[in-house]
């Protein structure tokens, strides 16, 4: 039943260094979330949204990229129209909320997704070690990588189980959520426990010497991207 999960080992067109991807994600979060009325803010947000689009193309998800582009343009258009609507209707609030989600969160989410999908656990660990970050921080984050496909897998099984039990919306949204989350958390906790035991028994330690087979290297494109992102960040916060 584990066949439906996306691979984390898929190859991107251009492979960026994990550090670059991490930095990109950080800058995205810093620029996309705050809001201001300035022209610079508007331009930067559009440029970043375009960058997220390119990133999706880079991880070979053209279909998703197209959907994203359409959604973004639609949200942008709707945003323009909203300015002319005065007063507060419920529909207006819902549309505004949706627009904000698409314009501000979607680009960052897709950057995070491409990071997760194209980075091996070992590459991530190697990058963190190179930055001299303690393994106390690295290991839990590495486990998160491992958990994404696991949680997706478990969730599919739980959904099947609910279908067979005939538990539908009729029980109310809170019950629906509870019935999904309880078994999900139970199995994730158990998997986490067994996973940690196996990793520890294979010699994974917090403060032990460790070698790294995985070679990661910052290349020209990484530097270019990081310089541009830094420039954008400085522009954004100083002007």
């Amino acid at each position: 039943m584990s066949g439906k999960v996306s691979t984390n080992t898929q190859q991107a067109v251009i492979n960026l260094d994990p550090r670059t991807k991490l930095y990109t994600l950080m800058v995205f979060s810093l620029v996309m979330v705050p809001s201001s009325e300035s022209e610079l803010d508007t331009i930067l947000k559009i440029v970043f949204a375009g960058l997220a689009f390119l990133m999706l193309i880079n991880i070979r998800r053209p279909g998703l990229a197209a959907v994203y582009a359409v959604a973004y343009c639609a949200a942008y258009g709707a945003n323009g129209l909203l300015a002319y609507i005065s007063g507060m209707s419920l529909l207006g609030i819902i549309i505004r909320l949706l627009v904000e989600v698409v314009l501000r969160m979607m680009p960052t989410l897709f950057i995070a997704m491409s990071f997760l999908q194209t980075t091996k656990v070992s590459e991530f660990v190697a990058a963190m070690e190179k930055m001299h970050i303690t393994r106390k921080i690295t290991i839990p984050f590495a486990v998160i990588f491992r958990f994404f496909p696991t949680v997706a897998d478990e969730y599919h099984s739980i959904q099947d189980a609910m279908k067979m039990r005939g538990i539908g919306i009729s029980k109310g949204p809170i019950a629906m959520l509870e019935y999904r989350l309880v078994p999900l958390i139970a199995s994730v906790v158990q998997i986490g426990d067994e996973l940690s035991a196996a990793a520890v028994a294979r010699g994974l330690g917090v403060d032990t010497e460790r070698s790294n087979y995985c070679k990661i290297k910052i290349k020209g494109l990484d530097i270019l991207l990081m310089v541009l992102l830094t420039a954008a960040l400085i522009l954004y916060y100083l002007f």
Binding site: G166, A201, L204
Partner: protein, 494 residues
Amino acid sequence: MIELKNVSFRYKDSEQDNSLTNVNLSIHDGEVVLICGGSGCGKTTITRLLNGLIPSFYEGQLTGEVLLNGENISKQPIHKVARKVGSVFQNPRTQFFNIDSTSELIFRCENLAVPVEQISQYLENAINEFGIGELVGRNLFHLSGGEKQKIACASVSIPMPDIFVLDEPTSNLDWRSIWMLKDIIMRWKAQGKTVIVAEHRLSYLKGVADRVVYMNDGEIKEDMPADTFWSLSADEIKRRGLRSISPVSFGSNARTPHSSDCYSVKDLSFHYKDGVGIEIPALSIPKGAIVGIIGENGAGKTTFARCLCGLEKRARGLFSFGSRTYSNRQRLKICYLVMQDVNHQLFTESVEDEISISVEHTDDAQREKIVDEILHDMDLIALKSIHPLSLSGGQKQRVAIGSAIASKKEIMVFDEPTSGLDYRHMLEVSNCLKKLSAIGKTSLIITHDPELIAECCDYFIFIEDGTVKWYGPFDTQNGQRVQQFFGSEEGGAL
């Protein structure tokens, strides 16, 4: 040389008494030792002492000494122990840390700080030795249980430890993969390594183990040479609550389902996006039968079960009983798949609630009566106010079955209900299936467990290459076919 001297252990926060009481055991270099005994007998606890997970990972009260070549393992940091002891665990799904197979293969090497140039060498050797060329660079989530276990074995053998500890390594494997694991253990044995295997499944270790330790209630009850153990009679083995040590015979217990009314399946077909799938022209299943669905891993057994239950919306075909036909959606109402990981199917806070939410009656008194009846039938009365997730595996399974009965399911499909169960618990499952049959429910069991089949099945469906090769009642001819199927994978060791 491994020595356990007067070892007792009690898990922290455990309501049980000691998991181990006064265990004394010495294992010489190069010995292959099988530790067997019923569930909860303490065999897993011994493996955890040997690989250092106790006391480093699982805390508790430990007395006595666990010595490896005279040094106390329990006092050493666990990564030091990891260098000398390689561990393979029960669940292939949860014992890998990485997502791609190559990183997992060299994970132990990296943790032990082996220099990078040397890792390349080790990796190449392991690929050749284990014949896993085609498994390199793959997503572990897409590999079969057997393939994952192979990666696990390869990864703990670079760099080579002196001792291998395996905790129920075959629980989730089919016969073919079990035989592959046997080959690996044989190779380690030939290389002079010490191997300790805690297991329920025993027959594959014949000719591999040098010594057999039998445990019960946290104590070592018997410690005998393998020859003595393998000459024990079937009754003596059952009396100890152990799984069969010789190939199961399907000769004498032929039986047929009681009812002649049949569910019929016609032209069932379904394909995944990658083209793999099933095509079943015709099949009939007697109502109330206990059907064994057998076949190799990847033959399409699970896909068939999912289609039957109506879980695959794109499945096409005709399913009928008498004059009534059932669409995919309608089958979802009358079928229930008891998953291997029952945790996914329990949602509520007590056993009683779990059953009660599935009962349709609106009248409270009526509902209560039905719930009580089911609790009684499934031996759950004593557990009715307990949280389902705190039950044992077998009890959870019974709760899931109970909830299926409550929602008036006619057909129950079980996915490997006895994997990792000892003899007594296997019998419990078998009894439960017989009860279901007695109240007219039809059970289909996907299983690799010949003992369970011999114990309760009265009908077979044999699946190969995505289609039903043959089906029919448990008569002499079909009994022989099943015998042959389990026999052939043992390499003709009958």
